[in-house]
Symmetry: C2
Subunit: 148 residues, 2 copies
DNA sequence: GTGAGATTTCGAATCATTCTAAGTCACAAC
DNA sequence: GTTGTGACTTAGAATGATTCGAAATCTCAC
């Protein structure tokens, strides 16, 4: 289920952590591994339970800490939908999120550069945006449970 | 500070409530009045304190109830930014939100139909979205504190 | 005016997240 | 090799926005 990190992913993790003056720890590796294993935007609690299977002593606080660290060094994004638990996404390409009303599942939606550009263009002069979050909410036909 | 509702706004409120089988109450009128008075996307707590000035016995639970009712009958929208308290917006035109990193203020950003359309177009077949939320986060030059 | 149902109110409960403080660990300096 | 330092992890308590439960009050059709 939870495969190990590829060499490439391991380097990605190491580089990002070390570049921001932080250490590579077994807990961070385990949490990062969980995030990359499935692209289903897990909650903290879901990450916690998955990571525990491979590292039984891991604490919930540490999962919170790891995820915060990853967000801080740009390894993952937080995804919020209304008042639900925060979810985490390791997809660094620009994309929107679609939350399926029925299943609760969150899907990545590719965001072409020209659409991103047209979105930025609606900002009046003086508004300078660093982050844009786009989220859809509705029904998705369940064609493929591996889709993201 | 808090003006009374115009006849038009009052009718809007009555119509929406009655259409969905609910009653017009003094509390609901007070909360709605507060929402329309300033377009600054207040939190529940802010609505509560403003409405209290005009109706001292009003309870926080009722403010939660009223706002939930209004969202249910389409009179206002909820606005969420990350993990912060939910804010409320009476602007029913399609628009995006811009949260100013420095002031915390939330501004409405007009959303032209063609941009909305280009956004919808990124959804793959089978994805049917009822709600799209777009939020920007960054710095805005404070030209006009009345802007929304 | 009455009664049924909706609404309001207060306080308690929930629950995701953050905080605190103590225990571990990695590793550099001596 | 011991020791010191700072970063990291851990368990549990605290926080705070929101929701729930139950009793009191109001509203409106009859
Ligand atoms: Mn689906
Ligand atoms: Mn501003
Ligand atoms: Zn994603
Ligand atoms: Zn708005």
């Amino acid at each position: 289920m939870i495969r190990n990190l590829t060499e490439q992913d391991k380097e990605h993790l190491q580089e990002a952590l070390i570049k921001s003056g932080q250490k590579v720890t077994p807990q961070r590796e385990a949490v990062f591994t969980v995030l990359l294993a499935e692209r289903d935007h897990p909650t903290v609690d879901e990450v916690f339970h998955r990571a525990r299977e491979v590292m039984p002593g891991l604490s919930l606080a540490t999962v919170y800490n790891c995820l915060e660290t990853f967000v801080g060094c740009g390894l993952v994004r937080q995804v919020n939908h209304e008042r639900e638990s925060t979810r985490y996404c390791p997809n660094l390409a620009p994309h929107a999120h679609f939350r399926d009303k029925e299943t609760g599942r969150v899907h990545d939606i590719e965001l072409p550069p020209e659409v991103l550009k047209s979105l930025r263009s609606i900002l009046p002069p003086g508004f300078d945006s660093e982050v844009i979050e786009i989220s859809f909410h509705g029904r998705a036909q369940a064609k493929d449970h591996h889709s993201n």
